[in-house]
Each structure stands twice: as C-alpha cells, then as structure tokens.
C-alpha cells in the first residue's frame, strides 16, 4: 500500500462498486473481485442500494439522471478509502466524468472530485495502489481448464481514460499454465459502446465480427477483458458465429475462479456442471481472504 506502515496499521477499506452488468449478469466477476481485493490485503464492503454509474444517461445527453445517480454513488462511497470497480468503463465514468456533472455546484463538485481521486479500476488498483508485494501474493492461480492460450482485449475507457494496459497483463503473467498472446488490434473498440450497439446494430456487428476474427487469428482459446459490456458483446458474437473460444472477465482468471465462461450453458454441458457451474461458480472461495 501507499506507505507500508499504514497498511499494517489498518487494511485499506475498499467499497466495491459492483457495476450494473456484473451485478445483473455476471456475479462471478464480483466474487472474483472481492477475492482478489481481500487477497491483496484490503477490507472489502459492498455498499447497499447500488444500481449504475450513470454512464448510459451521461452518454445519451441526460445529465439530470446522471447527476442523480452520481449523488447516490457519492453518498454511498465517500466514506471508504477507495472505490474499486471491476470495469474500466464505470471507473472511468466516476473518475473522469463525475466532477464534470457538477460544474455549477461547488459543494457537490468537491465531493465528486474527492471520490473521483480515490476511484480505481480493479487491475490497476491491484498493481498501482496495492503495489508489488500484494501483487506477488496474487500469483499462482490456475488457468481455466482447457485454456492454455488466452488473449486480452483492451476496453476503450480503461485504456484511454485510465491508462489500464500493462496492469492486467502483468497480473496475468502470474497465472500458472497460461500463455498470454497478443491479438491484432487489441486496442480497437469491440463495437459495444453502451447504447450504440443496439442503436446501430449493423455497424456494431461489423466491429465485433472483426474483433472475433482477430481473437481467432491470435490462436487464443479464451479472450479476457476488464469490462463485462465488451465481454457480453464478444461472447454473443462468438456464439452467433459458432466459434469455440471461451470468454472470461480478467478477474475471474486471476482469482482462479473461471469455471463457466460467459455465454456457456449452466447445465447439460460436460465440464461445466462438474465444476459446480451456475451462479455458484467460485462461490465460497471468494469469501476466503488470504491475508
């Protein structure tokens, strides 16, 4: 931690901003995030009443709704040392854009800035804030079964708003039995773009089909990313094209909790049921801090 003495005195208190997509779609990512944060020596809480970071409203020009959601996030999270989200997109929204929403309101702007400064995307928090000793403790997770080669897709907001690029790759280098291979154009948008993907499906479809082609070109058996939005888009397109690759949030692989990939059946498929599958994938282990 920033100042080891402080870390010894009291573990940093992290409020996990689950994100709406992880909450609704991919609880496994949330449990993996908790596991990683606790293993890195943090005390993790999940403040009640979380919904969304407000980005869909903000990016649609509805500042009023975005501001209302921003206030509720500030209320719920400003008591923590850090806000951490398993998403570059939501963390980028809070870190880069929350203060913009209160341009004309000094009181709220100050609170928004205070929270923005303490907001982190998960992998960059683990590497840049928790530091080398903590990152060292995260090494040694086993690669998902059947996956030797994986490739990492750089989500746009994480990469360009928060500078998340090396951190996930560095952490993935510590996963036993996993080769990280780079795909062509890893940093090019997958075509998700929030509401963009449903407003302009044709354009979005072309973009994601190119992404899926690049994943295949890298010879990767799995694609990993730090944002469930991109992953749903990529997994959905892979299923539509009948491609075999698997799709995981990077946190699930780092935590050794990657059982059922996104878009894979919960029942009736050999190999997934045996691992416990379903929403219970990785359950329990996420509650076992390795301090």
């Amino acid at each position: 931690m920033e100042g080891t003495s402080r870390a010894r005195a009291a573990p940093p208190r992290v409020g996990l901003f689950v994100t709406c997509l992880v909450d609704l779609y991919r609880p496994s990512t949330g449990f993996a995030a908790v596991h990683l944060l606790e293993a890195a020596g943090c005390e993790v809480a999940v403040p009640r009443g979380q919904t969304c970071c407000g980005q869909p409203a903000f990016n649609s020009g509805d500042a009023g709704t975005a501001r209302a959601l921003a206030r509720s996030i500030i209320d719920r999270f400003e008591g923590f040392d850090y806000l951490v989200a398993p998403s570059g997109s939501c963390a980028g929204m809070i870190r880069r854009h929350l203060p913009e929403l209160f341009a004309g309101d000094a009181g709220w702007r100050e609170r928004a800035e205070g929270l923005a400064d303490r907001t982190w995307e998960l992998t960059s928090f683990l590497v840049d804030v928790c530091g080398a000793p903590a990152a060292e403790r995260l090494r040694g997770a086993e690669a998902p079964r059947g996956v030797r080669r994986a490739t990492y897709h750089d989500s746009c907001s994480g990469l360009r708003e928060l500078g998340v690029r090396e951190q996930p790759r560095r952490l993935l280098a510590g996963v036993a039995g996993l080769d990280l291979v780079e795909m062509p154009d890893a940093e090019v948008c997958c075509g998700f773009g929030g509401t963009f993907c449903v407003k302009y499906p044709g354009v979005s479809g072309r973009m994601v089909s190119e992404k899926v082609e690049n994943i295949a070109a890298a010879g990767a058996e799995a694609v990993l990313a730090g944002d469930v939005g991109c992953l749903l888009n990529i997994a959905g397109r892979m299923r539509r094209e009948g491609r075999a690759g698997r799709v995981f949030h990077v946190a699930e692989v780092l935590a050794g909790m990657a059982d059922r990939g996104i878009g894979e059946p919960a029942v009736g498929s050999p190999g997934t049921t045996a691992a416990g599958g379903g929403s219970g994938g990785g359950s329990g282990r996420g509650r076992a801090p390795e301090r």
Binding site: V46, S60, G193, S204, R239, S269
Partner: protein, 474 residues
C-alpha cells in the same frame, strides 16, 4: 452538397453491404495507421510539438479578429483582395462575381474542403462555368459525380478497376482509349488530360491549409503539384478558406506543418508546400494577375464563443477518421456530408444543424481513439457528448430509445424498486438460458440480437447472492 446525414442508418447499411468498399477501406486504414505510427515514433518531440501547436491555435483563436485584420491588410498591401463571406451563399456569390468580372469560362480547382462545404462546384456550373477538379482524388469523384468520402483522400472508397472504367468512359470523347490498371498508368492519364485544362483555365481556385497573418500569404500542402498549376497558370487565383485557418506567422506555420503531414499520411512533409502572396509582381516569371482570398465564416464565429471552440483548432489531417472504427466500418459516404468521421460528426451538426445530423454524434462508441491521435488535442468524444446533450434537450432521437432511457433512469434512481424488478428479470432469464447459455432472440432486444446472441445471465444478482451469504453487514 445537400446534407443527407439524417439518413445515416440507411447509408451505413448500404456501405456495410459493399464488399469493394470494405476492401478499399481495409487497405487504406492499414497504410494510414502504420505510416502515422512510424512517423510519430521517429520524432521524439512529437508530444511537445503537439502541445506547442495547441497553444498557437488557442492563442490565435483568442485573438482571431486581430489576426484576420492583419491578414487582410497584408493581402491588400501585396496587391490582393480579401472578401468576407458570412455564409455559404455569400461565398458562392462572391466567387461567381469574381469569375464573371474576369470574363472566365473555365475554372481549375485544387482540393478544397470548404469549397465542398459551400457547394461551390454546383454553383459555378449553374453560372455557366466549366469546373475541373485537378486533385487526382477530387478529379475521380467529379467524373463519378460523387462526393468526397475522406477529407484527405477524397476517392479512398474507389478501387483501381472502378477508376480505370471511369477514365475509359470520360476520356473516350477526347480520343483516348482505356488506360492501364497500374497506379502509374492511371496517374499518367489524369495528368495528360488535366494538362489541357490547366493551360486553358481562366481562373484557378484553391483552398488553403493555412493563412499567414504577418505576410498576408496563403499556404497549401499537396502531393501532386496540381495546386501549384491551379494558382500560377490562370490569370486569376481565388483562395477560399475558413476564418479559422489563420496563423500569426511563419514560426507558427513551421510548428503546425511538422504535425500535419505526419498525422495525415505519415510523411515528414508533403511533397509540395506552396506559399502564395499577392498577384504576380513585375519581376516574377509567372503567377496570376489577380489574387483574391474569400474568407468563409459559415457558423465558425458562432463556435468561437461557445463550448465547441476547440473544434476550430482542427487542421483537417484526417487522423481521427483513419483511426475511427466506425469510419472504418462504413466509410465516409455514410456520414452524408462533406466532413466525415469524428471531426465530421462534430462539425456537420454545428454547420448544417443538429436536427439534420442528429445521428452523427450518436453513431460513435466514444472509444476515444480519435482524441488520442488528434495532433491538435481536440476533445472529440466530449464534444460528441455535448451534442448528444443538446439533442436530448431538444427531444431528438427515436421515441423507443428515449422511452427506454427514461424507464431505465426511473428504475436506476430507485434501488428499492430496481432490485426486485431486475432480480426477477435476471432470475427468469438465467433459468430460460440455462441449457443453451445464450439467446438467439429476445423480445425488445432486437438491436442486440440482430447481429449477436445475448449471453444468459447467471441468474441470481451479485448483490442478492452477497447478502444471502451473510455478508449483509459489509
């Protein structure tokens, strides 16, 4: 050119179905991106230059009146004339007047995007003038009766086969057979035909990449030399330029020039950088007898005082287009007007009106690559967001998307309602999708499932599972 930007979805659909276009865009993108990367990597001071150029432009825009007036007085001092055009009709009328006063019949043109913006060619032709575009790309699209699809490479959407066929058709009346398919053969043919036009033109019209206030000069950068023939051979040279093109002096020009070609094509410098100052002087061997500069506002002074001021820093290098995944997917014609890609998605609504171009700021994933490569550090994503906010205020956009957003916002602001509703929906979807893992079709999610499956959720929400596992206190 009449804006067709409101038809973006239809035009994008046509573009996506065009395999030839896909090949052309793929080839072009690889070249542009790779060449720019190499040029930028080879210049360690690129970031410092970028910062210096931003400051130069910001300073100039803050003192735009001063520099424009200085520019005008220097043009006058060197024997030329400046004309102020508040909008597109004024620019067209002024240029037609100059041509008429010169008794012109034939006009050669160098590439000018502001010329396209004010629809100059159509107006000149209606006034009875013969207009010949002399930039190879512009020449090709003029023959094809199309509009530019890229601000730097107007005919980037055309394959060589299409160009050969166009030349064969249009050059037959000149007694020329179909040219060969090689680049050199196509270029040689265009040169041969255009040479005749250069020699008989009465007026040459060029754009300007920059206007230099300290000397009253206009500057163009080209790779073909066609601009030089357009501004030296005819009796009259007319420059058309937006008011934001002015720079204080040559020092500033040198800084910005070092960014322009590297960002546009990956060249250190364009092949020709040509400075025009006034008409021919008595000792000059060539040059026009008259030198006119038409300065076009057309909405720019409105941008100057507002939240889109930074857009006026744009030097039209095209780097944002070349790195835009949406542009790469659909090409320039989908955008429906002169300016395309990210810069076009900001400029078009500001010039033609948001109600006629509402799709453009929305047809973007806000991935931020454009801002990353913009040599003038224009915050394009945040400008697109501001335009979306204006659209939202005015109630633009489809009813379905507005209704969907409103319903989602209503729920997201009420966690006590959101939790059970979302929880029940995920429970049902998780159960229905448990065997296949993904849905091919989902009611009300046609936009998603048109091109991809919808992965099934795991079933229970994270927050519910977390509380159920007895972590309620945390």
């Amino acid at each position: 050119m009449i804006p067709e930007s409101h038809r973006f979805p239809d035009r994008a659909g046509l573009a996506l179905a065009d395999e030839g276009l896909r090949l052309a865009l793929d080839r072009a993108r690889q070249g542009f991106i790779g060449n720019r990367r190499k040029a930028v990597d080879a210049l360690p001071e690129f970031p410092a230059l970028r910062e210096a150029a931003r400051r130069i432009k910001d300073h100039t825009l803050s003192n735009l009146d001063l520099y424009l007036e200085r520019f005008e007085s220097q043009v006058t001092a060197s024997g030329g004339q400046v004309h102020w055009a508040a909008d597109a009709p004024a620019a067209r009328a002024r240029i037609i007047d100059i041509c008429r006063e010169a008794g012109a019949r034939t006009v050669t043109k160098g590439k000018s995007m502001v010329g396209e913006e004010v629809a100059l060619n159509e107006a000149l032709e209606e006034a009875g003038l013969e207009v010949v575009e002399t930039d190879l790309g512009e020449y090709i699209i003029q023959l094809a009766d199309e509009t530019p699809s890229h601000i730097v490479a107007p005919a980037i959407h055309k394959t060589r086969e299409e160009i050969r066929d166009l030349f064969a058709k249009h050059h037959a009346p000149l007694g020329l057979g179909p040219p060969g398919l090689g680049n050199a053969e196509l270029v040689a043919r265009a040169r041969e035909v255009l040479r005749r036009d250069f020699l008989r033109a009465d007026v040459g019209i060029t754009g300007a990449n920059f206007l230099i206030a300290e000397s009253g000069s206009t500057v163009i950068v080209t790779n073909e030399g066609n601009g030089d023939l357009s501004n030296t051979l005819p009796r009259v040279h007319i420059v058309i330029a937006g008011i934001e093109k002015v720079l204080p002096g040559y020092e500033d020009l040198c800084t910005v020039l070092r960014l322009l070609a590297r960002s546009a094509t990956g060249q250190e410098m364009s092949v020709y950088t040509t400075v025009s100052t006034g008409p021919r002087r008595s000792a000059d061997l060539d040059g026009p007898e008259e030198f006119h500069v038409v300065l076009v506002d057309n909405g720019r002074s409105g941008m100057l005082g507002g939240e889109f001021r930074e857009m006026l820093r744009c030097i039209r290098c095209g780097a944002c287009l070349n790195h835009c995944p949406v542009y790469h997917a659909v090409g320039g014609h989908a955008y429906g007007w002169v300016y395309t890609g990210p810069m076009g998605s900001v400029l078009t609504p500001l010039i033609v009106g948001l109600d006629r171009a509402h799709h453009l700021p929305n047809a973007c994933t806000l991935n931020g690559r454009c801002e990353q490569v913009c040599p003038m550090s224009i915050p394009l994503p945040s400008m697109l967001r501001k335009l979306r906010a204006r659209g939202f205020e005015r109630g633009l956009g489809t009813r379905t998307s507005r209704l969907g957003l409103a319903m989602w916002g209503f729920l997201a602001r009420r966690p006590a309602l959101y939790r059970p509703v979302a929880g029940a929906a995920m429970g049902v979807m998780g159960w229905l999708g448990r065997r296949r893992g993904a849905f091919r079709r989902v009611p009300l999610a046609g936009g998603w499932t048109a091109v991809r499956d919808l992965p099934a959720p795991e079933g229970e929400t994270f927050q519910r599972a977390w509380r159920r596992r007895g972590s309620g206190g945390r």
